[in-house]
């Protein structure tokens, strides 16, 4: 359980996260919302990447402000959108870093097994000896996700994991998230832009707008024309196709207006 209580954050008098409280239970939760809604900031605050200005966050019962970083790193893993590495690394080296919170710089054979399993899961075994700078954007993205999996935490936070991925790999990524939840029992929280991907795979959706929590519920509750209008300021017709609620926002008359 991730518990967020009255969290606010502002930079230079601009409020980025505005008094958000939420309980994120087990399963796959997607954070959605327009640009600048504070989605990534909230995710970063949950993962103690920035110190909390006000409010409290606990992950699996551990208060993120007071628990030692190393202990949190065995419970919680986060991957940001942009990842620049100043060392020249091979894919396997990068994924091995996921074991750092467990064994420091001296991986054991058990760690190596975790690394190989993570490589396998992201279809990277054949690329394991390549350098990161020889990979495409999507391959790099998968390498970083493999590192997060090797970290083997109960809570996994991903900031726009579908960035750089083509349709096939996007679907594979979302299916992988589902396996992490359904088979490994992990709690996965992702920031998503595509509401239809979010709706199709998530157990719950958490919608932010200008830093404030606007709606939090199941895809059935959130994928509703009125609810989505309160989030995105545009009317999105909802169609149910094979049991999944999809928003057809492409033709929305207000979709073209940029304010």
């Amino acid at each position: 359980m991730i518990s967020i209580e009255n969290v606010s954050q502002s930079y230079d008098a601009e409020v980025v996260v505005d008094n958000v409280s939420a309980q994120i239970g087990p399963g796959l939760t997607s954070i959605i919302g327009p640009n600048g809604a504070g989605k990534s900031t909230l995710l970063g605050l949950i993962a103690r990447l920035q110190p909390l200005q006000s409010g409290r966050v606990s992950v699996g019962g551990l208060d993120v402000s007071s628990t030692p970083s190393k202990q949190l790193a065995r419970t919680l893993a986060i991957l940001r959108q942009e990842n620049q590495v100043s060392l020249r690394l091979r894919v396997r080296d990068l994924v091995t870093f996921g074991r750092f919170p467990h064994t420091g710089g001296h991986p054991t054979s058990e760690d190596r097994a975790h690394v190989e399993a993570a490589l396998e899961r992201l279809d990277l075994t054949s690329l394991a000896d390549r350098y990161l700078d020889q990979l495409s954007g999507g391959q790099r993205q998968r390498a970083f996700i493999a590192m997060v999996l090797a970290q083997d935490t109960d809570y996994v936070l991903l900031d726009e994991p579908l960035n750089n991925l083509d349709m096939k790999h996007s679907v594979a990524m979302m299916q992988l998230m589902r396996t992490l939840v359904d088979e490994d029992g992990k709690t996965v929280v992702v920031v998503m832009h595509d509401i239809n991907f979010a709706s199709s795979y998530s157990d719950s959706l958490l919608a932010l707008k200008r830093g404030a929590l606007v709606a939090h519920g199941s895809p059935e509750q959130i994928m509703d024309t009125d609810v989505l209008e309160s989030v995105y300021d545009m009317r999105i017709p909802i169609h149910e196709v094979d049991g999944t609620r999809l928003g057809l926002y492409f033709g929305s008359p207000q979709g073209a207006r940029i304010s």
Binding site: L49, A73, V85, F97, F100, G105
Partner: protein, 335 residues
């Protein structure tokens, strides 16, 4: 989908060398070359009293080696925690800060009182001040959200110029006799190094490098960027503070021994990254320390014996280092 790219020939035969083999090759090569250079330096055209000449040269080469290792390793760690390959402690003005502190001590205590203080005591006081002021000045810059690189470069240049300006001003305000004594302090060179100071410096440098060596795996994680490092459980702020403090100690010590050499660290660390791509900090520390020693020992030998002291080593090193600096800027590393 068949992976077509993996069958394409990539690069030269050297690129196929595994990082392990590459490291071994360079470590052995540089190690042998360094030992040869040291032997040559010690024994080249020895005349007169052998014991006397060897002691003299031994002290000098001791200073050179200490200085080379201190600057190379501190630059390596500094660049990792500040997440760039351009800034070095020297470029950020740390050695100018050390010179300023020396001048302020002479200015406020009087040259005679300060110079008659036993050398090790003076040295330790200076280093303590150096660490304090470095943390005060640089910590906020690198532990908060990292700013743009060119902004920090600018801040460094402004700070260094300011420190040198104030040092010069205070120097002018001193009595001529005190100023001369101060100059003796701050313009030390490889040619006159006090053996006691050398022993103290060796201890301090060895201790600092031992700490950095223990941090080598953490530094590898820091190289993944701040957010990833935090996610992997590294206390980013604490490690940055530690490395800044150790850099201050190492730069202060080497400046005390031989004076400032601005671009030396940049030169050595850039080369080390080129020689062993894909290496972690453990290997990088070894390679840069060896490379730094080789460059300084060989350089000093050439300057002293072959060019007949017609130039100074720092001029040569600054020239080569300055060119590397400009090349790095041109290559677009400053983005």
């Amino acid at each position: 989908m068949p992976d077509l790219l993996s069958h394409a020939p990539s690069g030269t035969a050297r690129a196929h060398l595994s990082p392990e083999a590459r490291f071994r090759r360079w470590a052995i090569g540089l190690g042998v070359a360094t030992v040869l250079a040291i032997a040559l330096f010690l024994t080249w055209s020895l005349l007169g009293n052998l014991a006397f000449a060897l002691t003299l040269r031994g002290t000098r080469i001791g200073a050179i080696i200490l200085c080379a290792i201190a600057i190379s390793v501190s630059t390596l760690a500094f660049q990792t925690v500040t997440a760039n390959r351009i800034l070095t402690p020297s470029i950020m003005g740390m050695d100018a800060l050390y010179a300023l502190l020396q001048t302020v001590m002479v200015f406020s205590l009087g040259a005679t009182a300060w110079i008659t203080t036993p050398e090790p005591v003076r040295f330790v006081v200076e280093l303590a001040l150096m660490v304090g002021f470095s943390l005060l000045l640089y910590r906020w810059m690198f532990t908060s959200k990292p700013g743009a690189l060119h902004l920090m470069l600018l801040v460094g240049i402004v700070l260094a110029t300011l420190f040198r300006g104030v040092t010069a001003l205070l120097g002018k305000l001193l009595e001529p006799s005190e100023y001369t004594q101060l100059q003796d302090l701050s313009f030390a060179s490889f040619n006159r190094v006090d053996p006691t100071l050398l022993a103290v410096a060796a201890l301090i440098i060895a201790a600092s490098i031992a700490v950095l060596w223990r941090l080598r795996h953490t530094l590898d994680v820091m190289a993944l960027g701040r957010d990833t490092a935090v996610s992997l459980g590294v206390d980013h702020r604490r490690v940055t503070t530690m490395v800044l403090a150790l850099s201050a100690v190492l730069v202060g010590t080497s400046t005390a021994l031989v004076g400032p050499i601005t671009f030396f660290g940049l030169l050595v660390v850039s080369l080390a990254y080129q020689l062993v791509p894909g290496a972690g900090h453990g290997r990088l520390v070894v390679i840069s320390a060896l490379l730094g020693t080789l460059v300084l020992v060989a350089g000093q030998f050439v300057v002293e014996q072959l060019s007949g002291n017609s130039t100074t080593l720092s001029v040569v090193v600054e020239f080569a280092g300055g060119i590397v600096f400009i090349l790095l800027l041109l290559k677009g590393a400053l983005k």
